[in-house]
Symmetry: C2
Subunit: 355 residues, 2 copies
């Protein structure tokens, strides 16, 4: 088994092409034919060729490294993964065939939120940064703007200075989820939302409120919750909401872990999903199809989001204006159940209140 | 809001201590009193102080960076996170208060498995490496041994040369899970195991086989499966096993996603867990408590595993012999149901066969 270093020379030997052609093919030079470029790059990938970046870096002053900053809570024992593997996997897709590699810099919850970022900027670890979990007025974004470091955010902000971002239309997703439940006949709909300081949480709340307003229904603060969206949170919040005198008949869970906890609460309450209450989840991560019952959800691919983020950042590093690097995508409805309300022929449980 | 650079001088101003004391406290020098060291380090953490590593790195030739290599499948859309956030979170715990930071290097499934590692070693990205998903004869481990790069593996190998590792006793876990089901009266027990090339999959199979052997029962290959353990895999495998003439009455799922899929299959089959078949999961990640029904599982903290890996690697970098850096931990039983078999008073379904 080969464990020695794969060099340009190895690629020359294996492809039978000249050194100049191999080298130009790896740089995607237009004078090399597309089939030849593809052949060389495929061989480079197969053999695990790493260009001698030392020389390139010295010449260009670039690191050929992108960095994604991911929030990590070292205090939590009971936490769920948040799709970051899917997201980073998508970024890697965008980087395949380029000289760039990706590193992950943690942002520790109990530290200054700029600590990790400062390390990246001051130690010149990367040419560009990807941020997640954006807030309306985000000190990390302001820091990167000040420092002139290229970056793209997964999620928008409300800062005046434009920056590159990719986002799912969370307002639209929550609006559609709420409308769907209203159309089925629900009037008391609970929103299990992410923490309120995150901008996408506010976007979801706007969408939810807009749907209720259009239907002429009151926007009851007692039905709007914010939490970390763990299964434990989902369970507890549903139990609390169920104990209200005029309890909700439908729940919109912002992720599948909260939805799993909600279903567990249904079981404790003796409720049957679709008979005693309905449940919709957003941010499907391909597991709620296996819940009992399978859930209707809204899905937006995290892999695709990662790929878009990687591409946007490469273009930002190449000098494209931030205003031109802003992309919004819409979530897709995955219809897995017929959640008509009240269910035909079913007798409403007493707890359901007078809707 | 402060976004300027935090230097040693900032720490001197804020603590009122001398520059020498602050500097020695950050290095954990024994001549500084423990309370003073703690005070300085706490202030440094709060303010997000990053030492000027440039100077330290030049003097010492060290990067003060650790690197964890994580397998990433860019082809998959339907995949579940595998606790890597918990693991990295634990590593960060081990690094708090040290000069070290952690980066993540992906190992892409469709590339040479050494490609990512070569980048780390050849570009001198890190002082030490953490590997996961070990195999009996692991080319990545051999490469790191050859290169003299300090490393620790999450999982053992069967290589002759000793190396630092941390592992959960998977043989013991599978043995105990199988014994538990045998003691309840099950005779046909299916094992939903991880892919067979991973060493921990073999360890689990040893434990499972040992329990059956001790009970004088046959070891039927038809009951042993290997898969990626997604929810889809769990569902499909249970449906296939259920269609066997002498179908299993109990299932050991190696993770919770497979168990979720298994429960979904139970629903399709019209089975009730605990009545028509029993289910146990290993590698609990704190969500199966919210399944319907909640599952009995074996749990081993990934955060603690990460912390152990970080500590072992720091000691390895400091020159401690690899033989002294090998740690095995046992999983803990989380008993969430009484899975006696056959259930008292229940009528066995015809499909259950003659156990």
């Amino acid at each position: 088994m080969r464990t020695g270093k794969v060099t340009l020379k190895t690629l020359v030997e294996r492809t039978g092409l000249s050194l100049g052609t191999v080298s130009r093919a790896l740089k995607d030079a237009p004078e090399v034919r597309p089939e030849t470029r593809e052949l060389v790059k495929q061989m480079a990938r197969q053999l695990g060729y790493t260009p001698n970046l030392g020389g390139v870096k010295l010449r260009t002053g670039k690191t050929y490294t992108l960095c994604i900053v991911l929030p990590v809570d070292t205090r939590a024992q009971d936490f769920t993964d948040s799709g970051y593997m899917a997201l980073t996997s998508g970024i890697h897709k965008a980087l395949q065939g380029t000289l760039y590699s990706l590193i992950v810099q943690p942002q520790l919850m109990d530290e200054d939120e700029l600590a990790g970022l400062r390390h990246v900027v001051e130690a010149k670890v990367a040419d560009g940064v990807i941020l997640t979990q954006t807030r309306p007025d985000d000190v990390r974004i302001r820091y990167l703007l000040e420092q002139g470091m290229p970056f793209v955010t997964y999620g928008r902000s409300e800062l005046h200075t434009p920056h590159a971002w990719f986002d799912t239309d969370h307002e639209d997703m929550a609006y559609r989820a709420t409308r769907r439940l209203l159309d089925k006949g629900h009037q008391r709909i609970a929103l299990l939302n992410p923490p309120a300081h995150l901008l996408y949480s506010r976007h979801r709340e706007y969408g939810y409120r807009r749907a209720l307003r259009e239907a002429g229904l009151p926007q009851d603060p007692a039905l709007m919750t914010a939490s970390e969206l763990s299964a434990a949170d989902g369970q507890q919040l549903v139990l609390q909401l169920a104990a209200q005198p005029d309890r909700p008949t439908a729940f919109i869970c912002a992720n599948e872990y909260a939805a799993l906890g909600a279903l567990s609460a249904f079981q404790q309450l003796g409720w049957q999903a679709g008979r005693d209450a309905c449940l919709i989840a957003t941010d499907d991560s391909n597991i709620s199809a296996y819940f009992v019952p399978p859930l209707t959800t809204y899905y937006s691919s995290l892999v695709d989001a990662g790929t878009a983020l990687g591409q946007l950042l490469l273009r930002r590093i190449a000098g494209v204006a931030a205003e031109q690097l802003q992309q919004l995508t819409c979530a897709e409805l995955l219809e897995r159940q017929d959640d008509r309300w009240p269910p035909q022929g079913a007798v409403l449980s007493q707890r359901a209140g007078g809707s």
